[in-house]
Amino acid sequence: MFAPQFDYYRASSVAEAAALLAEHPEAKVLAGGHSLIPLLKLRLAAPSALVDIGRIDSLRSILEESGTIEIGALTTHAELASSELLRSRATALAEAAGMIGDPAVRNRGTIGGNVAHADPASDLPAVLACLGAEFRVTGGDGDRSVRASDFFEGLMSTAIGEGEILTSIGVPTVDSACGSAYAKFAHPASRYAVIGAAAALVVDEDGSCTCASVTLGGLVPAPVRATAVEEALVGTRLDAAAIASASGLTGEALDTDDVLGDVYASAEYRRSVAQVWVQRALSSAAARCG
């Protein structure tokens, strides 16, 4: 397959990339290319130009600073999956990154490109929403941070404005009383999420749940919180019965016409089995608390 023609500009800094985007308003930003290049080849997108930020090394890092793990937009899925910091402090994120595609895809695909693309079948949006991530964008009218709940606006749509570039993602760090996990029903060929469930739990010293965050992806246009599940978990001891009972409320978050279906898995099927993946994510997250 051949992409439509476009011009190409390689930026050596974020400022240069922002200037190039201002100069070429129809341009798209190219990072690892693992979301954008397939779109171009399928001719679902035909930008006049690409601004390649892939060589801006300052955007490739995972750093902990004052209660936040700041992840540069160019950090690859392989780097996320193998990061000791993420594995211990944002386990669900490392876990989900390790489930994306296959090793060669994880070597090139980036967290920034992934979330900017906002594919509903992607893994990271649900996890980042679950963990309360903030998205740093620059360009346009200056720097700003966008909360996950505001960032993912819908099917392949984010709050990144015209002329703006996503530079990093901040994930709040948690202490050892918190456990998080991601469980995924992967499409057998593409490895995209048919259903993805992310869970983060906090327990007090008695092992009682004080805070729960549960987010679903894969089967909805943008990540959704399963608030009924969250509320049912708080105050429980996160034993198997409590998790099973709370997971049964998953459908309340999916009681809409928005649930996605395709030839592989219908909306009805996804809606009815989603609770299984919520239950698995919760069980793993509970086991990781403390």
Binding site: Y8, G33, H34, P38
Partner: protein
């Protein structure tokens, strides 16, 4: 627009002016005539286009040639040294890890990546490490045996 790119492939430097939309796999195959690398699904699922970019496996159907500018690419043609086939090539041959051979270049490059990250993988880890590469005839059993054999010879381990 045409953009100059200079890419070292299998130790030899190639400089060409290319359209930005040219995929790395098409540069390798159609412009430079290195046809060992294959195009299968063309949607980054089957892995037959797998090459190493700066030593790390990548699917060259999902990489623009301009993205590899200044970098070093290894294709299946670059694996064998002066002293003969690469241990992975020997093992795929000895263990009958191929029938039609179409997936083999990508399968061997992905196996190279697997052994780079995990020099002594279990069978389960081999299967997991090759999940991005499709074979439609050998049925994978002998591919797993070939990778296990290559890992043994590379580490000098007992078979």
């Amino acid at each position: 627009m045409r953009v100059p790119v200079s890419i070292t492939i299998n130790g030899r430097q190639y400089s060409r002016d290319v359209e930005p939309r040219l995929l790395l796999v098409h540069l390798i195959r159609d412009v430079l005539g290195l046809t060992g690398t294959k195009v299968g699904c063309d949607t980054s699922q089957c892995g037959s286009c797998t090459v190493l970019i700066d030593g790390v496996a990548a699917k060259s159907c999902t990489c623009l040639a301009v993205q590899a500018d200044g970098l070093s690419v290894t294709t299946i043609e670059g694996l064998a040294g002066d002293d003969g086939l690469h241990p992975l090539q020997e093992s795929f041959w000895n263990k009958h890890g191929l029938q039609c051979g179409y997936c083999t270049p990508g399968m061997i490059m992905a196996s190279h990546e697997l052994l780079r990250c995990n020099p002594d993988p279990s069978d389960d880890e081999i299967r997991h490490g090759l999940e991005g590469n499709f074979c439609r005839c050998t049925g994978y059993q002998n591919i797993v045996r070939a990778v296990r054999d290559a890992a043994g010879s590379a580490t000098g381990g007992a078979q």
